[in-house]
């Protein structure tokens, strides 16, 4: 028996019989990497000869009349990342193929790796020096809402923050999700798979969302996990950034994986000046354990630590409205230093995030599975402002502890239908730590949420359909401090009931074309910042006030999709459109009158429920033309506040990303990437301090080569980001009032894996 390790998944290959010419046979079984279940109806495609077969309901397939010589077989299955297996065919062969399948996900949104030659996990590893949100941008329809270089958070179909939940390894990422200047505390190095689910698939996840959920998962440990490891070092010329990553996987008494990252970067540079105080220090670690107790029971444990110290552009820290007006008019931001520095001073943020997850899988019978899951998180965030007293004293100190418990039951019914149901309980305590000398923007609060969901999937054949229901009961207790004198504590309590439901179907129209339709109804309870924010939000130079009488948001979304896959797997086109109407869409709106304080006048922003409509379209084309890989993605979005008949703010403008990959005969890979972002032309002058910035286009160029050293691999990459050193500002960057985005960066990356 030979063991092959190809791409990111293990493949067992057995050979038997004698070598023949063009009457060979390849048989095999396709199995879900997660739970060893057989994957029915996988498309198995022999690329050399342009023909294929479909695996049976038991996951088994057979290809006949195979000629001797190199063979390349592509396995694709709904809900999986497609995998290609290449080997030299000499004799009849039996393959066992493990696909990374996401339980019952329909292909609403699927991430495909850029360039067919790059395994999915590897393409994420290459981006380990970035923030997680930037990595997510590889998903069609995701943009980043940024605070300069300090923080980026994902926006999907126009939803972010409280409307887009993020699942970190199956646990809703807790933390201060309300703050647009707070990035999700997740290290991209740990993540192996990222995707967005919507509709029925999203109903099983907790967290605050109006439908979609971002899933970020590490590679799963399986009973087949073998010893492997990887170390990588990356250097970026812009900010003189160093990134060191390491990962070790092995099986001893348990299967385990240990990962760690260290990052150090100094001031970033826009084309014309330094972005003073935009350095960053990060140290992250993660541990994954899996114990396969018996064939029926598996216990898993996961712990991750994310710890970062992030500088915020000094020139973006301003006082009142007149300061903002002065800052806007400048060519070079205030406090711009002429020298590079690694030092971090105020304003800056520190965050330490712990996540502990424990999980027991129990296969009660052949068609019944139970999962018990616990997730605990501690999020310790401190923000330091430039202040009259000591800058070393945080102006915001929040400690949040979150506990999550889930019981999940899945039953496979006859005829490829599955029923899944679960109950979840989540408890949150968010406490401002004393000693800031400032009244907190977000009050102390405790929250509890009880949830139940059930989904049903049926995949009988060409027509597949699925439906689901979810119910959340959310309780909040807010301990606010009065703003009039004498200061006193006022306790408020709220209970919200939120319902969700979705139904969808997909139809296979012939061999190459499939279409799907899904309708989702979701309700979202207002979160604590929407109810009780009170005070000056430095980042936006405005006073933010919550409204404790807000009602729950109610949303209806219709999604239509069309997929085309050519017979040889060399052309894939995914297109989708959606229409979403939201009643009581909680919108942060500027008030007509400025508030006079001793520090001058400030705009006041209040939360209000309005009727909103969102429409969007996404197209994704993947093509292989000879040695050239083309990956092109276009996303369009339209968001409107129907109550006031104005555009919704922070809606990503039209963006179009293209990657061209070319492999030279010398195995050097060239990649040219472009990003075009249109101007957000729908925002009126009354809606913002500054009109949205003009459209821009950026180019990246990359050269990489992998060297095989026995069973080991060394990979080298050279990359230029923002090739033409374009000075630009992005509408979704809240620091566009003050400074340009970073300019060109020359990056070098070295990775060694075994």
């Amino acid at each position: 028996m030979l063991k092959w390790l190809l791409c990111s998944f293990p493949l067992l290959l057995c050979t038997s019989g004698r070598a023949q010419t063009c009457d060979g046979r390849i048989t095999g079984t396709v199995i879900d990497e997660h739970n060893d279940e057989r994957l029915a109806f996988t498309t198995v495609y022999l690329q050399q000869e342009g023909r294929g077969v479909e695996a049976g309901i038991d996951g088994e397939f057979e290809l006949t009349n195979i000629c001797s010589g190199p063979v390349s077989i592509r396995f694709s299955h709904i809900g999986c990342d497609p995998e290609t297996v290449e080997f030299d065919f000499r004799a009849d062969t039996n393959l066992t193929v493990y696909l990374h399948h996401h339980d019952n996900y329909t292909e609403t949104v699927t991430v495909t790796s850029t360039g067919a030659n790059v395994a999915y996990e590897q393409s994420l590893d290459r981006q380990s020096d970035r923030q997680i949100s930037e990595v997510l941008e590889s998903i069609t329809g995701i943009s980043s809402l940024r605070t300069g270089t300090a923080a980026a958070k994902p926006v999907y179909d126009g939803l972010y923050g409280n409307r887009l939940s993020i699942q970190n390894n199956g646990i809703a990422q807790a933390g201060q999700q309300w703050g647009n200047d707070h990035a999700p505390e997740i290290d991209p190095w740990v993540a192996a798979y990222v995707r967005v689910v919507d509709g029925v698939d999203a109903l099983r996840y907790g967290g605050s969302t109006l439908g979609p959920t971002v899933l970020i998962e590490p590679a799963t440990l399986t009973p087949r996990t073998q010893q492997e490891g990887k170390v990588a070092y990356g250097f970026r010329s812009n900010g003189l950034g160093h990134t060191l990553n390491a990962r070790v996987t092995d099986s001893a008494y348990v299967a385990y994986r240990l990962s760690g990252s260290l990052k150090l970067a100094g001031d970033q540079q826009a084309p014309d000046y330094y972005l003073t105080n935009t350095g960053r220090r990060e140290g992250n670690a993660a541990m994954q354990l899996a114990k396969f107790i018996n064939p029926r029971m598996t216990a898993r444990l996961y712990y991750s630590l994310f710890s970062a110290n992030v500088g915020v552009l000094r020139g973006s820290h301003i006082g009142n409205l007149s300061d903002l007006e002065e800052a806007i008019g400048r060519t070079v931001p205030y406090f711009t230093s002429s020298d590079f520095s690694y030092s971090l001073s105020s304003p800056r943020q520190t965050v330490v995030h712990h996540l502990l997850k424990g999980e027991i899988h129990y296969q009660a019978s052949d068609n019944e599975r139970l999962i018990f899951r616990y997730g605990g998180q501690i999020d310790d965030r401190k923000e330091y402002d430039v202040r009259r007293g000591s800058d070393e004293r945080a102006a915001l100190k929040l400690l949040q502890t979150t506990q999550f418990l889930e019981g999940n039951y899945r039953r496979t019914l006859a005829e490829k239908s599955t029923l899944e149901a679960g109950v979840q309980f989540e408890s949150v305590a968010n406490d401002n730590q004393p000693g800031t000398g400032v009244l907190p923007l977000i009050p102390n609060y405790n929250g509890r949420r009880g949830s139940a969901f059930a989904t049903y999937h049926r995949e009988p054949g060409a027509l597949q359909y699925h439906l689901g229901l979810r119910y959340d009961r959310q309780y909040f207790e807010a301990l606010t401090i009065s703003r009039d004198l004498p200061r006193r504590i006022i306790n408020y309590q709220h209970t919200f009931n939120a319902l969700g439901g979705a139904a969808g179907a997909s139809v296979q129209l012939g061999e190459r074309l499939s279409t799907e339709i899904e309708f989702t109804y979701r309700e979202r309870a207002p979160q604590i910042n929407e109810l009780y924010s009170q005070g000056l939000h430095q980042g936006v130079s405005g006073i933010e006030e919550g409204d404790s009488s807000l009602a729950i948001e109610r949303s209806g979304k219709l999604n239509l999709g069309l997929h085309y896959g050519s017979a040889d797997g060399r052309l894939t086109i995914n297109g989708s459109v959606f229409a979403q109407r939201v009643a009581d869409f909680i919108n942060l709106e500027p008030q007509p009158e400025l508030r006079l304080t001793i520090r001058g006048a400030f705009p006041v922003f209040k939360y209000r429920g309005v009727d909103a409509a969102l429409y969007g379209a996404k197209i994704n084309v993947l093509a292989q033309i000879g040695r050239l890989d083309v990956d092109s993605r276009l996303a369009l979005l339209y968001g409107q506040n129907l109550t006031d008949d104005v555009a919704l703010i922070y809606m990503p403008p039209t963006n179009w990303r293209t990657h061209l990959g070319y492999t030279l005969p010398s195995e050097v890979q060239l990649t040219l990437s472009s990003l075009f972002t249109a101007r957000q032309g729908r925002i009126t002058t009354e809606q913002d301090f500054l009109p949205p910035p003009p459209a821009y286009m950026l180019f990246d160029f990359r050269l990489s080569r992998d060297f095989a050293l026995g069973g080991r691999a060394l990979s080298l990459a050279l990359e230029v980001e923002n090739l033409f050193d374009t000075a630009y500002r992005d509408y979704l960057d809240r620091q566009r009032y003050y400074a340009d985005a970073p300019g060109r960066s020359l990056n070098f990356r070295l990775a060694y894996s075994w």
Binding site: G319, R388, G435, V438, N446, R483, D484, T597, I598
Partner: protein, 189 residues
């Protein structure tokens, strides 16, 4: 199976019980808060002072601030001006913030910006360790009878030596505005 259910129930209980902390928050002592500004103008030649007061004891929210000018300024007169900043959010322990500003004089500068219709000229009479102005004390000289607004600014971490910076022009200095108040001033004869 039953063991697992029991474990689940225990964990649930633990989570529910473990998080019942309803401890009241600490009401922060906002020692850096500035609630009151008083600009006192004493005629150099003697006589009753004119005071300009901005008071907002509960800070940003709550009640609106009160702004008061005690009376008109006399025309063609020189006044010695001085600023007092207070934190009166706790009525039993009013704090004087002026001293704190003086201690960090290098990091602070007041600006006095009269509207063009208001015929007054201002000058600094104090300086920090580097000889750059602070503006806690000033002179104000009135010209002809006129009316208009006088804007008083306190900048934190300005670039005091930036070109173009003067008592009436903070634009090039940058920094954060800690105070910006406006008084309606009358110069009469």
């Amino acid at each position: 199976m039953n063991d697992l259910s029991l474990l689940f129930a225990c964990l649930l209980l633990l989570v529910v019980l473990g998080c019942n902390d309803s401890d009241d928050p600490v009401i922060e002592n906002e020692e850096e808060l500035i609630t009151d500004l008083v600009y006192t103008l004493l005629p150099a030649a003697g006589g009753p002072p004119v005071t300009m007061t901005f008071r907002d004891p509960d800070g940003d929210g709550g009640q609106a601030p009160t702004i008061l000018v005690s009376g008109p300024l006399a025309n063609n007169t020189e006044y010695d001006g001085s600023i007092v900043l207070l934190n009166s959010s706790d009525p039993s322990a009013t704090e004087n913030i002026t001293a704190e500003v003086r201690e960090e004089a290098d990091d602070h500068q007041f600006f006095y910006i009269p509207e063009s219709s208001l015929d007054v000229t201002l000058a600094y009479t104090d300086s920090d360790n580097d000889g750059a102005p602070i503006g806690i004390t000033t002179t104000l000289t009135t010209g002809d009878t006129s009316t208009g607004n006088l804007r008083i600014l306190l900048r934190h971490e300005p670039n005091k030596s930036a070109t173009g910076v003067s008592i009436t022009d903070p634009a090039a200095a940058g920094g954060e505005t800690d105070i910006e108040v406006t008084f309606a001033v009358t110069v009469s004869n």
